[in-house]
Assembly symmetry: C2
């Protein structure tokens, strides 16, 4: 049951897709001050609070303070209060159990036992917001009810599950040819290469620098021959440059955000001074979305939208203020106060919330200050792209994801978790963030594997990829100036080759489970506590996840560890992978286990009476043979094992779960025999272990 409460005159966010009548009575559970948004709830000692999608810290958010304020945060230290997305969904699990969605386009603060360990306090200056309370029996049913409220998650093409390579700094077509060549030479799978900001002419959207890409069409086609896609970046800011088409059209049609004097607002990003398209305006969304055609006409099939919080290096006013301050102190004895103030002046010009009050949107005849709708900007940019691409080819799935987001955007694209660092702690953060994102509808997600900022190490890359092979978006991305981290850069690249080939074997399972999660409003990555809700130990295990219906993973995320503890809420089949990715099987009992793993070893775990389907190895989804599967499972009682397996052509928008194939494995005399309704599907290897009953 979902209850809706409306206050003031909320700005329409299109976050929800169900039409629900507002309740007249007061909000349950909370003390509520209606002057602004101000909700207070008493936290019992053992109450867990889940949700908040893209945010720092653990799966259980208890004990810290979070602001939903889409922010270009360059360094993800553990004290971070905001990241790129605003995902105002909480799930309270104590004596009370309910979901809570604050649909509000402005900043909202979630004090989850930070100021007072026993109080949850949700506040905002906003007087305009809608609150949804989701009441269901279990954590899983609350999630599915909430996800039903906000609508079906974005489904990418199957190739988006391939291994993707990115780095800020690829500058010319020869870089891309070289990357393909090096992967080929070392037999490392490769699905796509990302084009970061340097492919553009002076960082102008929908341009290609001809001097560095003299025949872009040929590059696209040459890579297509190897099954490899190029995925260009699109930034929110449009360069101010006479005769640049996008700029000129935007100016002519008043498509840009304006300043207080109704002139196009000037901010600075990569190209220096830019204007921001007014994505809050439906006409602007339509205009900008269709510009993607410039690239799809070359054969491009995927995009990532960036800098759409929007990131601001500086505004004209902000820059002037900083220089004025520096001028005021430059001839004094610069001591403690001035030193800190000088740094703050320069560092504070970027992404300064003051600037959000300096520009405005035109929405249905009204002028709305940016601050009021800040959290929707990236969402609306990606909606613009999605709707544009739909027009360009209505029957085709494009890869599309964004840095900034708000709940609702999950219907239009995925997200990556932004500028993390090559820190072991960020591998763990990646693990913990995935289920929280799933709760908020974001299924196509991943972190920059190996870490974006700072220098990665071989061992970190190994451990991160051992987890990354399970994330729908599996992309290696790194920042300009950091150590090169394409997999061929490491002397032991052979291990990566084997590991990625296994990723391709996993794709049939991952893809099938992804589509089910999207269509059935379930979690692709689930915390143990959501599945094993009666297990009091499961609740504190945040470093193991369920992946789809059959798998549990327990990633290794500590440098120089030679093993880890794994908790099994029930008996499971462990598949252990050695350095050669050779599998060995062992049924492990319910309970605690310490498992030793050297650096190039890891394991996964299959739940009882579930099936893991593995496809055929490939270096690219285009090469994949979908006619046969390997089946692995663990029967706790010699009963048949079943799995609903979904597959399709991987690219058209026509997705029907009813076409799923029921796979059944039964014990016949000494052997386990698999059958399915699809006569074309062969089962080449069936490994079913059973416990000693």
């Amino acid at each position: 049951m979902i209850k809706k409460y409306v206050f003031g005159n909320p700005f329409p966010t299109d976050a929800v897709v169900l039409d629900i009548d507002a309740c007249p009575e007061s909000i349950p559970f909370f003390l509520h001050e209606e002057i602004n948004l101000d909700l207070s709830y008493l936290l019992e000692k053992s109450t867990c609070v889940y949700g908040l999608g893209e945010s720092s810290r653990g799966i259980n958010k208890r004990g810290y303070l979070f602001h939903s304020l889409c922010s270009d945060t360059p360094t993800h230290t553990p004290d971070l209060n905001s990241m790129y997305g605003a995902h105002n969904f909480l799930l309270i699990n104590g004596s009370d159990r309910f979901g809570l969605f604050i649909d509000c386009s402005e900043q909202v603060t979630f004090d989850i036992g930070y100021s007072d360990y026993s109080e949850l306090r949700i506040t905002s200056k906003s007087k305009d917001y809608t609150i949804y309370i989701i009441l269901e029996e279990t954590l899983k049913s609350i999630i599915s009810s909430f996800r039903n409220l906000i609508g079906e998650s974005y489904i990418p093409p199957r190739w988006a599950f391939g291994y993707q390579q990115s780095r800020w700094g690829y500058k010319s077509d020869s870089d891309f040819y070289e990357i393909v060549e090096k992967h080929k030479t070392l037999d490392i799978p490769l699905e796509s290469i990302y084009m970061d900001i340097d492919y553009m002419e002076d960082y102008k959207d929908f341009t290609i620098d001809n001097s560095r890409f003299p025949d872009f069409g040929k590059l696209v086609r040459d890579l297509q021959k190897d099954g490899i896609k190029l995925v260009p970046i699109i930034d929110a800011g449009v360069k101010i440059e006479k005769d640049y088409l996008i700029y000129e059209e935007g100016i002519k049609n008043n498509y840009f955000c304006v300043d207080a004097s109704n002139s196009p607002f000037v901010a600075a990003v990569w190209p220096g001074r830019v204007h921001f398209p007014d994505f809050m305006n439906a006409e602007v969304r339509k205009w900008f979305g269709e510009k993607y055609r410039f690239l799809t006409d070359f054969g491009i099939e995927g995009f990532w939208n960036d800098m759409n919080e929007p990131a601001i290096f500086y505004s004209e006013e902000g820059l002037k203020e900083a220089f004025d301050y520096l001028d005021s102190i430059r001839n004094s004895n610069i001591g403690i106060q001035e030193t800190f103030a000088m740094k703050e002046a320069i560092n504070g010009i970027a992404n300064n919330p003051k600037d959000y009050r300096r520009f405005f949107h035109h929405i249905k005849g009204q002028t709305v200050v940016h601050e009021k709708v800040h959290n929707l900007y990236g969402y609306m940019m990606t909606r613009s792209a999605s709707e544009g691409l739909k027009k360009i080819n209505p029957s085709k799935r494009f890869l599309l994801f964004s840095r900034s987001s708000y709940i609702g955007m999950h219907r239009y694209g995925g997200i990556w978790t932004g500028d993390n660092s090559s820190w072991w702690e960020h591998l763990l953060l990646n693990i913990k963030m995935m289920p929280s994102l799933n709760m908020c509808g974001f299924l196509y997600c991943g972190a920059d594997l190996g870490g974006f900022g700072s220098n990665t190490t071989y061992d970190l890359m190994v451990r991160w990829l051992q987890f990354g092979i399970f994330t729908p978006l599996m992309r290696n991305h790194s920042a300009l100036g950091t150590r090169n981290q394409e997999l061929y850069q490491f002397s032991s690249s052979r291990y990566f080759s084997k590991l990625l080939k296994f990723r391709y074997q996993l794709i049939p399972y991952l893809y099938s489970e992804y589509i089910k999660a999207a269509k059935l409003n379930t979690l692709f990555f689930s915390p143990l506590s959501f599945e094993y809700s009666q297990d009091s130990l499961a609740v504190s295990i945040e470093d193991q996840l369920l992946v789809g219906d059959s798998l549990m993973i327990a990633p290794l995320y500590i440098q120089n560890s030679s093993g880890r503890y794994v908790y099994l809420p029930e008996q499971m089949l462990m598949i252990r992978f050695d350095q050669q990715m050779k599998k060995t099987y062992e049924v492990l009992s319910e309970g605690h286990h310490y498992l030793s793993f050297s650096l190039e070893e890891f394991a996964l775990f299959i739940r009882p009476n579930k099936l893991l389907v593995l496809g055929n190895t490939a270096n690219n989804t285009g090469e994949m043979d979908h006619t046969s599967l390997e089946l692995i499972g663990f029967s706790s009682n010699l009963q048949p094992l079943q799995s609903l397996y979904y597959t399709d052509d991987g690219i058209t928008t026509d997705i029907d779960l009813n076409t799923s194939i029921q796979i059944t494995v039964v014990k016949e005399e000494k052997n386990w025999v698999a059958t399915s309704a699809d006569p074309n599907l062969k089962f080449v290897e069936i490994t079913i272990l059973s416990s000693d009953l």
Copy 2:
């Protein structure tokens, strides 16, 4: 056996105290390029590398790159390559097992399998260095041989083991009275309060701001009545101010470091422009060290030396360069390049290694560029203080510790681990760093409990103090502008009161074990792998430590965890503490355990046939009753338990381990009965559990 190899003309560091002849043959184990320091060693897959004292990451340093370059690092992210100290000691544990000390006053780089996972490479531009190779059978014997080489560690007074309160921002005497009062009111133990930079007049060393401290002597005496000490900070930089005594004396006697034109070098720190005393010069050390008398004359008994890397906010040249750059771009379209460069220009002026080439020392008639001796500066400042205090009162132990250090300084004072943050990750870093510091001789150590930078939380403070009660330096310290974190600031301060009272009960044990570690060159905090060297699991357990001879601890360091795994290399007695600090006992078997702990619960573990001595509870060491002890132990075979217990008056320098008291507990019929050679020592409670044999 220690082998010494000398190259070039090493600058004398006084790090070692033994006079050893240099070996003529070449260095064992390593490939050695003698153009500069350049050592290469092949790392096997399972080789562990320990050491490096104050540095980021784990106890095993394998896989990362470290520079020994004393640095004022404001944010301890996991990619940090340098911290405040230069501790060039490594311990290699593989097929080869040996210790390695690079005695070199210049920057040294330790690439421990970072560039190539299978190579240890130690490099420096220096041509002048001494290498010591320590060859012994075990990790423990290598440590003790190395510590014998570098001389006995600093021993603080006993009161330095009390609970200490600090914060940057205490400004006047009323702040200090208030802190005392609030601890008293809530019955929270308190031993000392730190005076951070604001007690001084304009941040001038050896001054007190009379307007905010109108009668400093009275403040000291008033606090002394409650047994509470004041511990002022002393900074390295001396303010340039006419008629300020220290400045005038320094100028008159040419006691300051000079620039290329032989004028006193100008850098800026808290007071703005300062000169740096030339601590490399023995005469300057003598002069500065005796200045501490200004404060000891008021009754001050402890000091912390800060900013002695030396920290530099900016140099005149650096500031000019930054402003020149800003002037060059201010009227252009500031794009990607300029934005980053602008930030770098301002942020890079602080602690810029370029400045280390801009000033010089006068050492025995020679002019030496600072870069050459950079890593010794903080060491020599603290040596200056120690030698000065010895002159002021030769028979008294003063509390003294430093931010910057080099091996050798461990004889003169302790260190705190600098400006950490209120991150759970920094609690874990604190745990892992302690044994590494001990290896390098630094025994009196601790981190800023609760975290210095960023805002702490109640749960973090609880968990951090549950570990902090075991660190010799137990200080709560935080930065200006962060959330107040004195223990009385939290609504649940009652728990802290109980926890700290237990710290005071631990002091007899901690003090006794500390003195033994200092006198016998052993580890106060030991990794499990050093004690249980045959246990292949112990090597990968970095989140449990041995504390002294009898205890093992397994701190909780994850937010919202409700328990943790603990590995017992042998059967042990667990003492579990509940919210009320009530103890329950349980003998746990060797092996893996999952133990549940709610937030205000934790445990410690006693090794078989060892004794934990607990003293009487107190709110201050001055109140402690040393006439009786409680004994807790676990007898694995009903044999007597023994412990060598050291105690003394806690303040005079006269320390003789031979006065230790042998305590023996034997089973007599049904009871365990304790005896000791000291008739004045009573045993009020004896709890000995034994396993079922």
